[in-house]
């Protein structure tokens, strides 16, 4: 399995340095990848992994250093050059054009032509179907990508990378949005590609994944390589310490919960998505004060719409939602906020922040209109600033000041900013939608601790996450969502990964054959 350690490197990066204003994102990084090797990169948020890959892919010009392929120095000034050299990349954020079809997304940039002008879609579609089939994926090349679930979008990304006959395949956090089952499936694909002689660079924050799939693990901290490990010779704690530079508690101790009366009652609600299709059907559950109720599910199974209904961004067209006994089915976000609902949205940059506004304004985004931040129609800038400075200190938001635009913050700090805003005050219910998506272990630890602390003060917490581990770690009870329904509610302490994973993937506990029936039956 393991490739010859002394076989010559297919790709080598030597002394790569990349500086951004105020940050040295890569500081003399060197890396060697052999054909038939899966090389994992590990590092905290902002460690410089993506930057390094962007340098390799021609998206960022390095300030120093060189790249060699098969021993030859090569120049990569643009993605075009990289593709020419046989380097393909699955990016950390989807690089798919939602309005274009699967086929168009895949062949974009490398279009088969007929009559010199027209894109030959029939040839491409056939090839895509064939390629998909070889991985066991049934792909409809004509579907607009925007209509696919994230899991399928990720598969399209992988097909897109492979379609170009690459030699080097870079995958930047490809599993962040996948279910365990999907991750397994992707790992199968990677192993096959490895066997076919691809050199694969794999980036992930999930230590056990890295340990499972990688042949070599390189850890980067603050732009520098701090160590390299063989999976056999290391473990999660070791890797985490290497990444963060200190000991990390990988699982926060959730302690005992002491649930009281019911806080949120959701009763038989039905919700439509933006296009008017009903995607939440007859969902019923309750969240008690002082407990964390987790909703597990593959992204795109109606969680967004469910959260929308609970937080007032959407209307449930049937059913009722009660908060502390009051009917809030038709309440708007303002009213809910007043009633003590805090909400950490799944898409933090779209909903949670106004990126061009200073931190201070973002911290009062939903409290700007009442004392102490405003008197009548007049904002009290001093109070806002004082409040902001206090919150920044309390939640350890790393920023030069409270007045810089929030777009200058790192992702983890942006999330802490939102947490600082939503967790404060007289909160009775917290809705946490994907609260740690894309964050590193340190930030995750911080946010998990805060959530448990709030639970212990008697707040009801509704946690929605595609991250199965997160749900398992934190929840007192777990509802599994599948195709718009909560198919089962389990006890958080006794549920197993496999059990929940299977429910997420199939909506049932039975084997694959029945799964087929469920799928075709709906």
């Amino acid at each position: 399995m393991t490739p010859e350690l002394h076989s010559p490197a297919l790709l080598e990066m030597r002394g790569i340095t990349k500086r951004y204003p105020g940050v040295v994102a890569n500081d003399g990084i060197s890396l060697q990848i052999r054909a038939g090797e899966i090389h994992a990169l590990l590092g905290e948020n902002g460690a410089g992994k993506t930057t390094l890959m962007n340098v390799l892919y021609g998206l960022a010009a390095p300030d120093e250093g060189e790249i060699l392929m098969e021993g030859q120095t090569i120049k990569i000034a643009s993605p075009h050059d990289a593709i020419e050299r046989g380097i393909s990349m699955v990016h950390q954020h989807f690089m798919l054009v939602p309005v274009l079809s699967v086929a168009d997304n895949i062949l974009l940039g490398d279009e088969p032509m007929k009559n010199l002008v027209f894109v030959d879609r029939s040839v491409a579609s056939a090839r895509i179907r064939e390629l998909g089939a070889s991985f066991g994926w049934e792909i409809d090349p004509d579907r607009p990508v925007g209509q696919l679930s994230v899991g399928w979008q990720q598969r399209v990304e992988i097909l897109k990378a492979i379609y170009r006959n690459a030699k080097v395949l870079v995958l930047d956090e490809p599993t962040a949005v996948l279910t365990p089952q999907e991750t397994k499936e992707i790992f199968g694909v990677l192993r096959r590609l490895k066997a076919e002689g691809y050199a694969i660079i794999f980036i992930s924050h999930k230590l056990y994944e890295v340990l499972e799939i990688a042949d070599t693990i390189t850890v980067i901290r603050r732009g520098k390589v701090v160590g390299s490990r063989q999976p056999a010779a290391t473990n999660e704690d070791d890797l985490a310490e290497l990444m963060v530079g200190r000991e990390v508690e990988l699982t926060v101790d959730r302690g005992e919960s002491h649930p009281a009366g019911s806080m949120l009652e959701v009763e038989g609600i039905f919700v439509n998505d933006d296009r008017g299709r009903e995607v939440v059907h007859d969902v019923t559950f309750e969240v008690r004060a002082g407990e964390i109720f987790g909703i597990a599910g593959v992204a795109g199974n109606g969680q967004d719409e469910l959260v929308g209904a609970v937080t007032g961004l959407r209307r449930a067209h049937r059913g009722t939602i009660r908060l502390g006994g009051d009917d809030v089915t038709r309440a708007d976000p303002r009213r809910l906020h007043k009633m003590g609902v805090g909400f950490v949205p799944g898409d933090r940059q779209r909903f949670g922040l106004v990126l061009s506004f200073p931190l201070s304004d973002n911290l009062v985004l939903n409290d700007y209109y009442h004392p102490p931040y405003a008197r009548g129609l007049v904002r009290d800038d001093d109070a806002i600033l004082r409040g902001a400075e206090a919150a920044i200190a309390r939640y350890d938001v790393r920023t030069p000041s409270a007045t810089v635009p929030s777009q200058t913050l790192s992702g983890g700090n942006q999330q802490k900013l939102i947490v600082a805003r939503e967790f404060e005050g007289d909160v009775r219910l917290l809705v946490l939608d994907q609260p740690t998506r894309g964050l590193d272990v340190g930030s995750i630890e911080f946010i998990h601790r805060q959530a448990i602390a709030r639970r212990d003060t008697g707040v009801a917490i509704l946690l929605v996450s595609a991250e199965l581990d997160e749900v398992l770690e934190l929840s007192d009870r777990i509802g599994v969502m599948y195709r718009g329904r909560i198919v089962e509610i389990l006890d958080g302490r006794s549920a197993s990964r496999e059990e929940v994973g299977l429910l997420m993937a199939t909506g049932g506990r039975s084997s694959g054959i029945q799964q087929q029936i469920v799928e075709t039956g709906s």
């Binding site: 708007d332 303002r334 922040l353 106004v354 061009s356 939903n366 700007y368 007049v378 800038d381």
Partner: protein
């Protein structure tokens, strides 16, 4: 902090803000000078390298050379400030109000209508009511595209362009029909007597000037100190976040467009009541379009808009002298305005030429303008 360091700090801040615009205007005037010199054979039949000197001197003396000239500059700037705010505040909410022109006309019309109805009344009644009527007229003309955008998604750019033309029709209908004067030889109203704005400064400094002057700090206050302004800016920068934060982007869009209309309507009312004194069916103006340039020149900030309006107002005030003394066609003013805007826009180039450091992330101010034209629309 001692007084001295405070003055120094203020000077440095002022320098940081004003240096690049000042350099830009200088460069633009140089470019304009080149155009004048190159075209001088067409102006005077011979090559005349001193034409720009004559022209700029004439312009300056017209705009600032006398007390009356200065007042004229201020009077010209008055409707530009108000209409500029009507465009600029729209920008802040992510709305591109090309309709200031129509709102201006309707505001002038409704002010005229009210003024005529109150011609016998005391000025203390007539003036406020006529101004109010102008604001309400403009408000209506802003409300319509706002409401259509909020509830049907109709793009405000299209609707406001169309409403500009509709305004002309309404104006002509009203003036040649119900509002036509008694003893007039063509389609115009009678003179507005009671509602005409008193002159308090020089030859033609009417009190509309004060209204414009007050509107700048008011707009600043509204945008940056009030909670509504915060909502407006949030809606403009990120409508999804606004909804999330419990604001009501639809209502805000309607509110902001109405407010913009109100301001442009007030501009029309003030110009009509303060400068013209009667309304004609052909009441012609370019204020609404100049306002777009002024708002962009001022980066959609009220204080910037004030300066932009003063610049345009001064150029207008000086343009008469430029035509008389340099014999240059009036269109040269447009060429100069475009050049100034161009050089200010390409300020990176100016910074590079003169090695001036950027003072901070100030471009953020406008970032949402053209963005909101496109995919970032509100739902």
């Amino acid at each position: 902090m001692t007084a001295q360091t405070r003055v120094l700090a203020a000077w440095q801040r002022g320098r940081a803000v004003a240096l690049v615009p000042a350099l830009s205007i200088a460069v633009a005037l140089l470019i304009g000078a080149m155009i004048m010199i190159l075209s001088s054979p067409l102006v005077s039949g011979e090559f005349n390298p001193t034409l720009p000197v004559t022209a700029y001197q004439a312009m300056l003396s017209g705009a600032f050379g006398s007390f009356d000239g200065v007042v004229r500059t201020l009077v010209n700037a008055t409707p530009l400030v108000l209409a500029g705010l009507a465009v600029g505040i729209g920008f802040k909410a992510g709305l591109f109000n090309i309709g200031a022109q129509g709102q201006f006309l309707i505001g002038a019309l409704t002010a005229a209508a009210a003024g005529l109805a109150l011609n016998e009344a005391s000025p203390f009644v007539a003036i406020p009511l006529a101004l109010l009527a102008g604001m309400l007229g403009g408000l209506l003309w802003g409300f319509v595209p706002g409401a259509l955008k909020a509830y049907t998604g109709a793009h405000e750019v299209v609707v406001t362009i169309m409403l500009n033309y509709v305004a002309l029709a309404v104006l002509s209908w009203a003036i040649s029909g119900p509002l036509r004067g008694q003893n007039v030889t063509f389609a115009r109203t009678d003179d507005l007597v009671a509602a005409s704005l008193p002159i308090f400064l020089g030859r033609d400094g009417h009190i509309g000037l004060l209204i414009a002057a007050v509107s700048v700090p008011l707009a600043s206050w509204l945008l940056y100190r009030s909670t509504i302004g915060f909502e407006i800016r949030t809606t403009g920068a990120n409508p999804d976040a606004a909804r999330y934060a419990g604001m009501h982007p639809r209502n805000l869009i309607i509110f902001t467009m109405s407010l913009c209309g109100l301001l442009a309507g007030l501009a029309g009312a003030s110009q009509l009541l303060g400068e013209v004194g009667y309304m004609t069916a052909s009441f012609s103006t370019t204020v609404g379009f100049d306002a777009i340039a002024v708002a962009l020149l001022g980066r959609a900030h009220p204080v910037g808009i004030l300066f932009g309006a003063l610049l345009f107002g001064a150029m207008q005030a000086g343009s008469g002298n430029m035509q008389i003394l340099a014999g240059l066609p009036v269109q040269m003013v447009g060429v100069l305005q475009a050049t100034i805007l161009l050089v200010l826009t390409a300020e990176v180039v100016i910074r590079r030429i003169f090695r001036v450091q950027a003072s901070g992330p100030e471009l953020v101010e406008l970032a949402s303008v053209s963005a909101s034209y496109g995919g970032k629309g509100t739902g």
